[in-house]
Symmetry: C2
Subunit: 156 residues, 2 copies
């Protein structure tokens, strides 16, 4: 994918398929990549735990990848060749997921993006927090907050 | 596995294999289940991300399952028929994992266990925090803290 281009649903799906080995086993797919958000979905089947609901690690994985995909797209849009790395996270499980589920990552606000750009311009590294909600059958089942590092590849 | 028995390495491995569908794709195995700790290991191959290091969601999954397995064994030891459910977590990624990795979950202290028993006796529900460290090639690559609910099955 050329730097400075944009990443649509198909391009993000190709990045996941090529780069994230466990994505296939979990049957992850990019459900939506419209402006302002990225949605990554997974089926319940194949992701169940001992209670027959979605495994905590699968819910977490779709959330972490939705945030990663959103920021990877943001870098591409801004013509920035950078690595996006999850540094820390907080997760809260709100209800069991008894059906297919999807993680909705939302773009950070303008002030956060402006701060990220300043950090990158100054040192080639920045840090930004992304909020992700995992939903199942119209209910929120998990809330995730991830702090991601964005590292320009020239200094990586 | 009978209630009131104990869960050794093979029994925990059987629980994982039978109950946690994504465990097979991630090739998780119970590496150690000696008194006081449970260790769940995974190979780097099959768990890689776009950077060729271990995927954040795989590191998280081994950690969450190590805590779950430790508490599930604890319930069995105490002859308590209970469900163990992850409620919330905090994770910090300390370094990239460039080789096979394993999550080490440690038993909570006596005071925490005593508190858990009191909550269970009073209401059939308790809550306990488990600290897990994920290690790779003698270095810590992730620290995980999970708050787990323990719910006696008679009130589940």
């Amino acid at each position: 994918v050329p730097i400075g281009g944009t990443l649509d649903r198909e391009a993000l799906a190709a990045l996941l398929a090529a780069g994230i080995e466990p994505a296939r086993g979990m049957q992850l797919r990019v459900a939506c990549a419209e402006t302002g958000r990225v949605v990554i979905a997974a089926p319940l089947a194949g992701n169940r735990n001992d209670k027959g609901t979605a495994f905590a690690g699968s819910l977490y994985s779709v959330a972490a990848l939705a945030g990663w995909a959103l920021l990877t797209r943001r870098c591409r849009t801004e013509a920035l060749d950078a690595e996006v790395v999850l540094q820390s996270s907080q997760a809260r499980y709100l209800a069991p997921a008894r059906a297919d589920f999807s993680a909705v990552a939302r773009e950070p606000g303008r002030a956060e993006l402006a701060k990220l750009r300043r950090m990158l311009a100054r040192s080639g590294r920045g840090r930004v927090t992304i909020a992700v909600e995992v939903r199942c059958a119209d209910a929120a089942v998990m809330s995730f907050t991830g702090a991601y590092a964005v590292i320009a590849r020239s200094v990586a």
